[in-house]
């Protein structure tokens, strides 16, 4: 569970879609930060056992924050900045080929 500090001078608001639902992120947010701010309780389930995982290191080394962004799977959410209209999907198991 994460909340924004007040007052928040972080850039403007950006709308991203998380599993189809709109959410207001900030321009300096990584996709991982946006997911945590949106109270997503997990961002993927593992391809090995289906266990739920969420961002762990926020710096690109743990590979637990893998999500599908705009149709492309296995993107590291903590290394990608949000952009207007971005579609983020919780990745369940293995990524799918194509797109």
């Amino acid at each position: 569970m994460f909340k924004r500090l007040q007052p928040d001078a972080a850039g403007g608001a950006v709308t991203v879609f998380i599993d189809g639902k709109p959410f207001a992120a900030r321009t300096t947010d990584s996709v991982a930060a946006a997911l945590l701010a949106a109270d997503a309780d997990h961002c993927r389930t593992t391809p090995v056992s289906g266990a739920p995982r969420a961002p762990y290191c926020m710096m690109g080394v743990c590979f637990d924050c893998l999500v599908a962004i705009d149709g492309v799977g296995n993107r590291q959410a903590c290394l990608i900045r949000v952009s207007e209209g971005m579609r983020v999907e919780i990745q369940r198991g293995k990524r799918t080929l194509g797109a």
Binding site: K94, L97, A99
Partner: protein
């Protein structure tokens, strides 16, 4: 914890080499009731087995030595039973599947060259013939919908398959130890001495004694061979591999240079370079492997490479296996090849029992003796 045996402890057989070759043979020997020591190097070693593509591949092998095709087919046909035995013994499922294999052609020229090669194999004297098909793009697409537009057709045979080679290795290693094999890692053999009908292996961790010895040490066989009166001309040949992140299953057939493992990663090969004992990854070769894979399956372009590595194949002079037994040091045997997965069943079920009995049958193994190189030299 596997440690050095007590001084004076003897084994029936010492297998030198703990990769797929050595492990399959050791397992087969243990099943035949032999007391086996498997001697392996440490954590950092060449280990050709790490470079395998996990194929049980038949249909394009044997041009130049028809008995190799027969031996390969015999192994492939025994694989189902072999996998079943490993599973019931160890509980490990090595994911063997034999749906038939494709070699995809990216041009008419490749297609024709392929057909030509396969026909020449079938037309050899003493060849045990089997069916293969040259199939057109449409039929390939029915089996493998994701093929790219450049794929013009393929060769196909129903005799090819694949497995999970890491689990195969683990099943063999676990299985052989369950059958009483003493597995000794960090026991690189420095020398072998033969005296009074027995072999003494000297390692940095002490000596190992055995009535028989099997050289299954890959490219290190060259160094060990003369110590026991054998000739094993093998050289390292570099091959590179790429594996991608795990992906939802899309490719069920083994395709000769691209296959999807049962865990979801896509493996891509297959390069050959004569680079000596240098296992450095060359990015230009990796680039070619990647681009060819994408021409075959365009949707692979967006997949991430998780690992790329190079290994040194154990390449004999003519590419065919060498199996021998020593005349000057009876009880010394050798097995060298670069198809340790395909031939694992044969090594475990057919070669190992003959080693256990102390004699390789001429019918099975004469064509693979290193004496063929002397004949070739004479004929040259």
């Amino acid at each position: 914890m596997a440690t050095m045996p007590d001084a004076g402890r003897d084994f029936d057989v010492a297998v030198i080499g703990g990769g797929l070759m050595g492990s399959a043979i050791a397992w087969g020997l243990a099943r035949s009731g032999q007391r086996v020591a498997a001697l392996d190097e440490g954590d950092i070693a060449y280990r050709a087995s790490r470079g395998n593509f996990a194929l049980i591949w038949v249909h394009s092998k044997g041009l130049g030595l028809a008995p190799y095709s027969a031996w390969t087919m015999r192994s492939a046909n025994a694989w189902t039973e072999f996998a079943g035995m490993l599973e019931s013994q160890t509980g490990i499922d090595v994911a063997f599947d034999r749906p038939g294999g494709f070699n995809l052609a990216l041009s008419e020229r490749e297609f024709e060259a392929r057909r030509d090669l396969l026909q020449r194999i079938q037309d050899q004297r003493n060849m045990q013939r089997f069916e293969f098909e040259m199939i057109d793009r449409e039929r390939v697409k029915q089996a493998i919908p994701q093929i790219g537009p450049e794929v013009v057709g393929a060769s196909y045979s129903r005799f090819d398959g694949h497995c999970n080679a890491l689990r195969l290795f683990r099943a063999l290693n676990t299985g052989m130890q369950q059958l009483g094999t003493t597995y000794l890692s960090d026991h690189r053999v420095e020398r072998i001495d033969y005296a009074a009908g027995a072999f003494r292996m000297t390692t940095r961790q002490g000596e190992v004694h055995a009535g028989k010895v099997v050289l299954a040490a890959g490219i290190d066989n060259v160094r060990l061979a003369p110590m026991v009166g054998l000739n094993i001309p093998v050289r390292p040949q570099r091959g590179q591999l790429i594996v991608t992140e795990k992906t939802a299953p899309f490719l069920h057939y083994p395709v000769q240079t691209v296959r999807q493992t049962d865990e979801g990663g896509v493996m891509i090969g297959d390069s050959q370079e004569e680079a000596g004992a240098d296992a450095t990854v060359g990015l230009d070769v990796t680039a070619v492997l990647a681009s060819r894979a994408i021409r075959i399956f365009p949707q692979l372009a967006g997949l991430n490479i998780v690992r790329s590595w190079a290994c040194l194949r154990v390449m004999t002079k003519d590419g065919f296996p060498i199996y021998d037994q020593s005349t000057t040091c009876p009880g010394a045997f050798n097995a060298s090849c670069h198809s340790g997965v395909t031939l694992a069943a044969a090594h475990a079920l057919f070669l190992a029992p003959q080693i256990a009995a102390g004699q390789l049958s001429a019918d099975d193994f004469a064509p693979f003796s290193s004496r063929r190189f002397d004949v070739q030299a004479l004929a040259a």
